[in-house]
Structure formats: C-alpha cells, structure tokens
C-alpha cells in the first residue's frame, strides 16, 4: 500500500452471479441482526435475456463522504486509508446519513425508544470503529476488525467468483485491467504433464 493508498470496493458485474456469499459472510462474521444487511446483492432486469446483471453493494467509503457532511453529531471519521467509519456512541440515529448517501448504505435497527431508529450501522470495511482495536467493545458494536489483522474484508474474501474486489484503488484497477487485457489469451494454466514447462534439466 502506497502512502496515498485509498481502500475501495469494486464489483465486477461480469463476475457477480448474485450468490449472496458476500452478504451472508458479512452478516455471519459480524453477527448482525437479521434486519441489518450491511451488504447486499442487487439484480437488475431479472429474467430478461442479455439484460440481467448483478452487483454487490455496501458503503462505498466515498472520498467526499456525504454522510460525514450532513451528520448533525459529527460521528463520522475518515481514516487515512480512506475507510469511512462512524462512532456509534455519538450517533443518534437521525438517518440523515441515509438521506445523503448515494448508495443507501446506512441501516437502522428498530431498537430506540418507541420504535425510533436506533444507532446507524453500516459496512466498516471490516475495520471496526473508534474503540480500542480488537477489543470486546469494538467487536460488539462494529463486528470483526479484520483490517487490523491484515486480512481482506470478509465479503471479498468469500466472494465465490472474485467479482468483489477490495483494496488500494490502484491495485484494484490493476486486477481489473489484467482481466480485461488477458481477454482471449487463453487459460492461465500450466500445461498438463511434466515434460513441458518443468522437469527438464537446464
């Protein structure tokens, strides 16, 4: 990761098959309540030949995060690596972030007084929250902190077709570029048998 690396998500729509592996992995890893889905897969034009495609969507960790701009209690903060996080202790569940968000990412449980919205929950890119890293409190409020352990967010790790990419935006574009450029160049394999590529004495 370079000095100016910013972490991003990208979903390759040719690869995404709407298997929901990402969303289930996310819910399972962070032990979310059933009514919260930090990540979800959306299919467009379902059932229409040559028109159907799917995308996995969550918080996109915007550079100019509108949620942060509108939050009346300033509970959002953007890490140096671009991950947009929020402080659940500060959040009042006003849902302004949802109104500002282009992606419908913020989610609200129904646990406030008289059915008012509870504090907001959204994708943390598996980076936890402001609490002490990997502490019990962080785990309870935000779920796993995989980034601190050097792991890929669980959704991308679990993606069955590697449609969902996450990481330094430069890296992601490299991967995607490779996919595009290698089109038609044949399977990336070692040939069968052992007398071709390896095994010959030099």
């Amino acid at each position: 990761m370079g000095e100016f690396a910013r972490l991003n998500f990208y979903c390759d729509e040719h690869r995404c098959i709407n298997c929901d592996g990402c969303s289930v992995a996310c819910a399972e890893a962070h032990e979310l309540p059933e009514y919260i889905s930090r990540r979800k897969v959306i299919t467009m034009n379902e059932g229409i030949e040559n028109m159907e495609y799917s995308l996995s969507i969550a918080c996109m960790h915007c550079t100019d995060a509108p949620c942060q701009q509108v939050c009346p209690v300033d509970c959002f903060y953007i890490r140096a690596d671009g991950i947009v996080l929020h402080d659940k202790d500060k959040c009042i569940g006003c849902a302004y972030c949802l109104y500002a968000c282009p992606f419908g990412a913020p989610q609200f449980p129904l646990d406030g007084a008289f059915g008012t919205k509870g504090v907001m929950d959204k994708c943390t890119m598996c980076a936890g929250g402001p609490e002490e890293t990997n502490s019990h409190e962080e785990r309870e409020l935000y779920g796993q902190n995989r980034i601190s352990e050097g792991k890929v967010p669980v959704c991308a790790a679990m993606c069955s077709t590697k449609a969902l990419l996450v990481g330094d935006s430069a890296k992601i574009s490299d991967i995607y570029r490779e996919r595009i450029l290698s089109k038609g160049h044949g399977a990336k394999t070692q040939p069968y048998g052992w007398d071709v590529a390896y095994g010959k004495k030099l």
Binding site: E34, V70, K90, C94, A95, C101, G104, F114
Partner: protein, 299 residues
C-alpha cells in the same frame, strides 16, 4: 374499526425497517436510487440535501437564535413593554377546553423546540446519550402536538380568518408595538400577528407532523408519491429538508410568541391560565373585539 386500524399499524410497524427484499429503500429500488443520484433529469435531492443540511441549516438556526433575542432586547429597552393591570375587571375569553388545548400544545412545544434545537446542534453537545435522549423526547412529545393541533385549528379557525379592515392597518402600525402610547389598536379577537402565528403553527405544524411521520417510518411506500414519480429516498430527503427549514421558522415564531406573552405585554400569558384578559387590554389591543363585545352587551 379502531382495533383493525391498530392491528394494521402494528403490523405495518413490524415491517418498517431493515433490508427486506421489498424494502422501498434497501430493496429492489436501491440500484435505481443509486443510478439516479445526481443524474441529469433527477431531482438532485441527494445533492441538495447534502449541501443544504451540511452548510445552511445550522447557521440559519444560529441566526434565528441570536438575532431575534437581540431584537427583543432592543425593543424591551427602547420601547418597553405594555402593561395592563390584572387587578381590574377582566373579560373571560378562553374557555377551559381551549386553555387545556393550548396547554397541551404549549407543553409539547416546550419539549419539541429545545430538543429540536439540540439535535441540530448535536455536534456542539457531542452527540451520544444526551442528544439521543433529546431525539427520543422530540419523538415522544410530538403526539401531544398532533392531538392538540387539530382541535386548536378547528376551534380558533373562525376567529383567525383574515379581516382586511383591521389586519392591514394592524400591519401598517406593526401592532403598535413600536410606540409607547396606549391607543386602541385595530384588531379583532386575534390581531394580525396572532393570526400569522396561528396559521403558521397549525398549518406549518401539520406539515411538520406529516414530515415527521415520514422520517419516523422511513421505509414504507405511499402510492401518492410513487405516482408523482418520487422515489422513497427522495421523499425522505424532501421531508427532512422541509422539516428542518419550517422548523427553524417555527422556532423564530415561537420565540416571538413567548416574548409577546411574557415580556412585550406584561403577564399576557396569564390569560391562557385563567382564561381572562384585563378589560383594558382588550379595549386597547383588540379594539374591534371590544366593540363587538360592547354591541353584544357582554362588557
């Protein structure tokens, strides 16, 4: 009927939140909402909401909170209050029903307005439990306002109708508040200022209620919006902006209302406790109403 309605509401409320497949925000509309965001031809509501909410709402409210008290202070010290003796003869103006009605609305405002202000300045208060408590109180107090605003509107509506003869003159002299003189002011049972406040608070209040219900429910679908081509998320954005902007105006109006009843006309608020207004006060500030009462022989 009532039972059914309750059951329906309960049923509805269980399906209101969360990412159901058919959720109107997190469901199938999600992608079209995303694609719509700030696209040409869209309402650009996401953008407007973000810009207005992040840059204008707080300063607007701050302006109201600073400038209006300053104006009042100036008025109080330069012009001074109007004082009418409460020991003399009084006229019974407000029935018990109206007073209770007003009291309910007053209590709700006492909660709703400060908590609303605290929420807008949530960052100043550091968010968290206190502001969350205010948000809860804001929500809990609003049904009080909901139940008081309709009877209020109905019972006072007739007296609040604009009567050009008095009201335009009243406006021209700004209700006589800029002069220390005690001479009869052209006004019926309610003067133009009261009328403006009334209509603003009741009709504006209804809009506040409507938007608050929308913001409270979040995830629902109303045919009327859909038929207008509004996506639910845009309905929410419009509601939030409307709620906040009208809210700021109501805050301003409410401050005037308080100033008038407590300071500008000394102890005028008491009329909403015992229902009576000193005869002199009626004679001066509501001269047309006084005449009306005289004609009826009630004074």
């Amino acid at each position: 009927m009532k039972k059914r309605y309750l059951a329906l509401m309960l049923l509805l409320s269980t399906f209101l939140f969360g990412a159901k497949a058919d959720s109107s925000i997190w469901g199938n509309n999600l992608l079209s909402n995303i694609l719509e965001y700030d696209k040409e031809g869209s309402l650009h509501m996401g953008h407007y909401f973000t810009v207005i909410q992040s840059t204008y709402i707080q300063p607007m409210l701050l302006f109201v909170l600073i400038v209006i008290p300053l104006a009042f202070a100036a008025h109080y010290f330069i012009v001074g209050p109007k004082v009418f003796s409460h020991s003399g003869k009084s006229i019974m103006v407000f029935s018990l029903f109206k007073r209770i009605n007003h009291a309910l609305a007053a209590i709700s405002f006492m909660v709703i307005i400060p908590t609303g202000i605290i929420m807008i300045f949530g960052d100043f208060f550091g968010g968290g439990a206190f502001v969350r408590f205010c948000k809860g109180a804001h929500a809990i107090a609003s049904p009080l306002f909901m139940i008081s605003v309709i009877p209020m509107l109905l019972t006072w509506m007739k007296r609040m109708i604009f009567s050009p003869k008095d009201d335009i003159r009243w406006l021209k002299i700004v209700g006589g508040y800029l002069s220390k003189e005690k001479k009869p002011i052209p006004a019926g049972m309610f003067n133009m200022g009261q009328k403006i406040y009334f209509w603003f608070v009741t009709l504006g209040g209804l809009v506040m209620i409507a938007t608050s219900v929308i913001l409270y429910l979040v995830d629902f679908e109303l045919g009327i919006f859909t038929s207008m081509g509004l996506s639910q998320i845009d309905v929410l954005r419009i509601s939030a902006l409307t709620h906040n902007i009208i809210g700021i105006f109501i805050v301003a109006m409410f401050m005037v209302h308080i100033y008038m009843s407590v300071f500008a006309i000394k102890d005028a608020y008491k009329s909403m406790i015992d229902g009576t207004i000193p005869e002199e006060e009626v004679k001066i500030l509501h001269s047309s109403y006084y005449k009306e009462l005289q004609e009826k022989g009630e004074v």
